[in-house]
Symmetry: D3
Subunit: 329 residues, 6 copies
């Protein structure tokens, strides 16, 4: 049996706050005996549930890392009942390079679970979380945003699950996170996701999309910070009640929610994220760039609802997502 | 004397609308006898002033190209008195690669004027505009945004000029553009700018910054479209009066307007663009990413005013701009 | 069980002509929710056999894509009895980059069958053809050329097969294709080939090599077009008889047919493709390039026959093929 | 005054055959005190004219280097009256990388004359030939082909010159070279060419285009070898009369000889190089590749004549040359 | 069953000396039908044991290749009793690029055993040695150095093995090699190593680390040459007794032997390799480079012993090894 | 007149110690309004001479930066009479990338003086030192090593100068530095060197080569630290007398001191740096690597003397330096 070579420099069972690393040996041309040092903070105080908080599952999504580096620096074990495991930059090599996937092996951490202990760097990270971290967790929060190529209205999400009691606990945790929007997802293709790995182990799991474009704003950072604090209060790890403000509940009934691109070019959006759109309404046009004087291609909403997500860069390619539309419930 | 090898496929003196190219011979490894084909539209109707409209002077700024490809496709010569020269993607190789500078020669088109007819690709473009385009212009509008690494509140700008009559005409044109913000610039280092080239020739010149992040929104695109139409009405090339809405007039008195970074890491903004800030107020903090548990570095406003510009990507390096603050007048 | 995520936008069972895509979801740094859109045309009219026609199995081979984009644009369902599935650019990412293998995963599509539904992009394409396309096929034609690094005399080919009735049907189809040369292949290493995948399913399979060098000429394009029309007539999908002209039948008895390089340098061929060579005759010499004044290395034919294939680029490396010689039968 | 740092390891004034180098100091990251060693052969016997023979002025053109490495290895000074300076790989770094231009500085050696002694690597080579090699020459032959991106019928060429006596001497040398085609060129843009540098110094200068595609065939290599021998006989450096076979004399009267591309895609030629074409005849079509079912763009001859040159790779871009047509005289 | 496609051009059972290749077919974009040609020498004389000698298992380690190319050029079969198989550049693609791992597939040959016959290039090499080379071996010597990123005092090494008789034979062979230092290794993670593959087959196996930094000195080359000759004499393949000089026997009891880096920057060593250090003694400091005026981070020995290995480049990253300390026994 | 845009954040005329930056604005694709921040320390106390100390003129040379970051962190203004300007990483972008030249513009800082204020990044650094730093200097010390591709015995050096009084002052300063070797240089090509820039301004200038290979050892770091302290004592800026140990005085009379490579391959040195060699003695051999069994090429000393410098990497190319030999005086 192959042992995962990642060794933590923190003791998960020790009370107090520890700042350390998940040390992942990585022999390569620039360092024959090198290691990747993934920062981790463990805060523990007595008994109680364990929450695992992660950011930068995709390396170009910033609300999670910002809120979690901040939390790790400020958290006082006195305020904690139970344990918080904070990994602000889950796919750390991707985070350092500011890219969705790992520059080392191209690994998309959220499509690679359960990983392999003798696999690539990204597979080793997945395997370690599958067998060493999720096994210690009761509550799991993975903070995503749109990254450099997508932008979303800020929402928390959970999944339709076969175990309706688990689903209910996840929905309650999503509501406790209390983002401006809350989305119920029926994933078509959940193979390899961290979400599925956590859910299959029976954990209370919440995910988010809080913005995008490879940046973070004061507003979306505040949503992340409030959501984390609410989530920990909901889990009973921090004292007090979550601060609850109005949220819009959304659903994505079927494939009409997605508009995709069949004409590469320069994309001009005609509506803003968060606006209501009618089925058939033009949400974007795409201009051919090799010459002037051509009429642009029109892209229309396939369903009425809220303009929830969009392509971010100025140029768009064949097959890219133009628009995501969700339906208020 | 060296002749600029760029040949236009349009006739600048012909009435009607022509869609063509500035054809720039470029011999390289992928095409021994290749050319760069920069799209151009010329619309002319009788006599009257000439306006030159450009986008993508930097290749990752999108409001200009979107509004100008759109204008080129829709403009009817019947509505025109005089001439409009539209070049939606000024530094076309940079625009195609979605980068600020040209992937061919690294050229920053806005620092390379007056260019050289026998220079690099970017220098040839500059030389052609210096001697063939600006010479035909009365009104010049160059639409910028922040690009992939900066983000701004949407403003039109003009410069303090030695010729106060010319300055006044530029200010009037900037006001006609009527962006939400209007900024009077005293450039410290204007060497090589297209702006300076146009102004030194006595043209009425207006520039803008309309957003950033390497994307464009429905809102900023509308600002660009309205501004262009207003600008052409102000020049008398389109009929009617500019549509004028309230604008905030801004000034940048001195170096205190700029906050720059001396600690690389993950940047967390604490205020939104457009908010008022007080001198000494923290506008952003930077988290070290190699380890958790460290207090972040604080960045404070050097002057009271409006938070006008920021670094866009989630990570920031030594020497990058953290914040630009402008003062309402 | 893992489902192949490729979804066709065409209905294989609908009469008439449909131009659409095989849509392959591909999440990467440049597009988090992107897709690869492989063009496909399905032409169907009533009942009858199904032919699958592919080009650009290797991305730098052009006679196939040219003839098939042309066919897809011109074909009238009225002329068809049965069904034609046309995929002009089989390994579409490789085709777009003009390289033999995929720039995404380095995949050589013709060595990767039967693929994997949860594998790399190239593995997913192979899996989809294995289970969704070949299952619908009666006749399969895969048009190859030499690509950027090899050049061949134009030939159609089929394989020695264990099932002699199937082999006979393949030979008849190869003869119907009627290239200037017809070659009977005993593949040493057929693992992972599309050829083998089709043959093992009992399909009538024909392959070709029609030229090379990463280009196509009017002559080789005509061979491809005539061959495709002949192949479809032979299958009974188009009406009429194949147009048959003289062909030279060739065989490759053993390893003496291959001459390979053991001296890197500049290669000088002394015979033209299609010429007869005698065993022991010098077919090429290789000049060392680091200095002048050295005698070149000589490469001799290992068998008498027709000079059938050669290295294309001006420089040659250790281990590259110098010459392929086939024996007329 | 700056001295060119290139030092030859051969003595240009010594009788006999010497194989050596032009040693060009080049300090870079892979070798702090490195040099580029350009192979050179000098053959001298008594008094008489000097011929300078070069290949690989562009690094992906192979008939010249093949014929000249071969000549350098075989030449016997006893057969020579005067001097031959042989540089088979003129832009040696480009030749080693198989690219038109230098991988070191992007330099196109044939557009950079007279170079600079303190410039880039390519500029230093040009300066050395301008002041150290051409100054020693009477006859200059520079053997080109189409390279990886162009293909030509095999022709020798010379230029219309202001000095008609010099022009006549060049034409006689071109005819002595005796390629299958002979072309009289009126260059529009001869700035920076080696051709112009030699002609301005009053040398007898002949250039060629002998094929292309980044390869060489037995046929085109024979044309080069015969042409070089003829050229040296014509100069009186080798004994005997040139071997003269029929040639087709061609002219290129004006811009109608060039057809250029305005639709990127997959190019399908409908005529072969060397065929006669009529004005208005379709010589090629370009297929859009992002989808099937579209009619291709048609490209027509602008003048009646011989199809003389074409784009070589299977894919073509905006602004690339589609066809060159020359007119028999 | 899949057959390894590597074919040797030498006959392992033929007496005399043969210089040839392990020919590994490798189809790629630069050569559709190319091969990697790994140089190999087989020297055989009558019956007797077989020694397999390899260098460049990692491509940036040079004492092995130097000593083995030298041996292959000089060895006289008359002096041999048995057989020597010499592969100077084991991971040949890595060796050609001067990198630890293969530029083709990133493969670390010493972590990939037993390989796969249908795997990547590096996996194919491993599989061939596993089943074709080690099966023929009695004595196996694999000569390593530190490579570009590590530097060691020169030592031979063998492993603690479960079969104590085999271990004893390995220790005797290590002592016969007689490097200045001899190290007994208890590998923590020996999965995929060539060492383990040889040992599990019961071979007498010796490894070394003879220097590093991506270079070799006259001194370390002499150690390699003497060690190889001694090893072959010890095996009885060459006549005579090994030349034995004093060696220092070393042990590495536990993890305290390793000091690793948690502060990226510029590394300043305070002791030389081979010096004795005391537990707690500063062996290196690391300077932050983004600013001056900061105190450096201190790195201390975790155990008393000999300073055995260090990081080589001037800059060091998080997780790199700072120091290896071994304990004299 | 163009102003150099570099702005120092330190005041050169202020007493005490200041740690700051030379801030060089650099607009590029990763940061539109970015700057390069070159660390600098200024230490001043009263009146007295000014010494300028630099390291990493080439970015892969480490003794200088190590000793100077260390000095900057420890220096106490109380110990200073006059002023010390410390720039540990002169070509800072090259230093950060660990390469000889700048990754931004390929600039070799030591061949680019006097630079240009409106040039590339490296040219701007040179211009700033030419006009802002050297103008303030009395004593200038620039600490070099061999870098990644060369290795030297540790020496200090100065040049033969036209002004013999200045030369004498430089020689005295070199002797004060007191490296194990002291070398008197007659540079052939000193164009563009920092050395020449300083000397032409009449400064007392000393340079060094202290090791190489892209690393630094405890021994060579000690030589640098002692040399700097001695140099500052000699200048009267630090109190006390230089610590003087024996040094070997060397001379390099002519081109026979250099042995250069004409056979690419694997280099085997037969003597160690610092050993005495006789004219004609083999100092290295080069093995061809494409095959085994070939005799290596031999390289011999052209003059008797001390083996002073060598190529560092294991592989060597055409034109690289094999050996530098200096003659004791």
């Amino acid at each position: 049996m192959v042992i995962n070579p990642i060794s933590p420099t923190v003791d998960f069972d020790q009370d107090g706050v520890q700042h350390g690393f998940l040390k992942l040996p990585y022999s390569h041309d620039q360092s024959a005996w090198g290691s990747i040092m993934i920062p981790i903070t463990v805060v523990k105080n007595g008994t109680g549930p364990t929450a695992v908080l992660t950011g930068a599952n995709h390396g170009d999504e910033y609300e999670g890392p910002i809120a979690l580096y901040d939390l790790a620096a400020k958290i006082d074990p006195v305020d904690v009942s139970g344990r918080i495991i904070i990994v602000p930059a889950f796919n750390y090599p991707a985070f350092l390079s500011g890219t969705r996937t790992s520059p080392i092996d191209g690994g998309n951490l959220n499509r690679i679970f359960p990983g392999r202990p003798d696999g690539t760097v990204t597979q080793k990270i997945a395997d370690f979380f599958q067998y060493q971290i999720l096994s210690r967790a009761d509550y799991v929060l993975d903070i995503h945003s749109g990254g450099r190529t997508l932008e979303f209205i800020p929402f928390a999400a959970c999944h339709v699950l076969p175990d309706k009691r688990q689903e209910k606990r996840c929905v309650e945790a999503m509501r406790a996170f209390n983002a401006p929007y809350s989305l119920m997802l029926l994933e078509i293709d959940s193979v390899g996701m961290y979400d599925s790995a956590a859910e299959e182990l029976g954990r209370v799991f919440v995910s988010t999309e809080l913005g995008g474009g490879g940046s973070a704003s004061a507003t979306t950072i505040k949503i992340a910070k409030k959501g984390i604090e609410n989530f920990l209060k909901h889990a009973g790890i921090l004292a007090g009640d979550p601060l609850i403000e109005p949220t819009v509940n959304l659903d994505m009934p079927d494939g009409r929610c997605y508009v995709s691109c069949e004409t590469p070019g320069l994309i001009e959006y005609t509506v803003e994220l968060g606006e209501e759109v009618e089925e058939g309404q033009v949400v974007a046009v795409v201009h051919e760039v090799t010459r002037t004087g051509r009429p642009p291609a029109l892209y229309r909403a396939g369903i009425s609802g809220i303009f929830t997500g969009r392509h971010y860069p100025g140029m768009i390619n064949m097959g890219d997502i133009v628009a995501v539309i969700a339906v208020p419930v």
